[in-house]
Subunit: 189 residues, 2 copies
């Protein structure tokens, strides 16, 4: 997605070889029109698969995911990082390690919001080691549903996430694929 890559080069900042700051348009100060256009790209790529729901992980995946869900006219499910005390019914849970925060969380989904007939599109803002996406995949498959695809806004292709997911047969569509980060260096694939 040319426009996204342009914004990354103009506004993004590599803090080191692993961390890319894009807080000016994606995960703190958010550009809603760019989120809508990201939604259009995901809709066009994934539209012919009979997808019934979009899953995303709180909180930075929500903006691009809800814009995609709006254009595909299907619900979006926000997978929670802890079980809110209002979720009193049966849940699926799986432990996910966050490298950014250096801690684990319990990715949580209410059982009543997925059935074995569902075809799920997982959308997230970043793909690095793939922990979050793999966690979402585990929840979907535990429920007997299908992962129809994975949509990623920014993929750090030098980390193992894509490889782990592709080895399991999932189709990953990333709008920006980063080959290398370094001091004032952002290189795309």
């Amino acid at each position: 997605m040319e426009q996204l890559c342009k914004r990354i080069l103009e506004e993004g900042k590599a803090l080191n070889e692993y961390v890319l700051k894009v807080d000016s348009f994606l995960n703190h100060n958010v550009d809603p029109k760019l989120m809508y256009e990201i939604g259009t790209y995901f809709k066009e790529y994934f539209s012919a698969r009979g997808i019934t729901k979009i899953f995303t992980i709180e909180s930075s995946g929500i903006a691009p995911a809800v814009m995609t869900a709006l254009q595909m006219d299907i619900p979006m499910v926000i997978l929670k990082k802890q079980k809110p005390n209002t979720l009193t019914e049966d849940v699926y849970q799986t432990t996910v390690h966050s490298f950014t925060k250096g801690s684990d969380y319990e990715l949580t989904l209410l059982k009543k919001y997925i059935s074995d007939k569902d075809k799920i599109l997982i959308i997230d803002d970043f793909l690095a080691n793939g922990e979050a996406s793999l966690g979402a995949v585990r929840l979907v498959e535990t429920a007997g549903a299908e992962v129809s695809g994975i949509g990623i806004v920014i993929e750090k292709s030098f980390q193992k996430g894509r490889k782990c997911l592709e080895e399991k047969g999932y189709d990953i569509y990333s709008l920006a694929r980063i080959k290398k980060l370094g001091k004032d260096l952002i290189e795309f694939l």
Copy 2:
């Protein structure tokens, strides 16, 4: 907002006198079209005020807030509940108590995303005791900017949030105002 109140009556569940579950359309399984319509209501009510940015609090406020920002063609800022290690620059922070989780968090805003010229619309999914909205107000005013209004999807009018905010002179526009909750009872104002 009639349509919202209808969904609350049809799908909402009062767990007790304080807690209302609306996880089927607002904060877990999310209806993107309803989020868009909520955005239209907020845009129409707040449009003539020269609002420059929308602030919301991760994570359940993001979907209605980004739909409002899209229609008002202004950025949305997601106030974080903890300081991500990618936020390395100067921040404003304030401590907020969460009654739902029974713990405190540090509401965090990068200084560069607000100026004293900004006119801010705060949007959140619930208003109960007002802690989250008051925290957002503190961040805005610490930066010397103006709180032009507060948009709430569901207000629990029997709790003190509206009163606290109105006493400080803020204009609160709530799309559903709940007078009373109880066992299988949801009563609107």
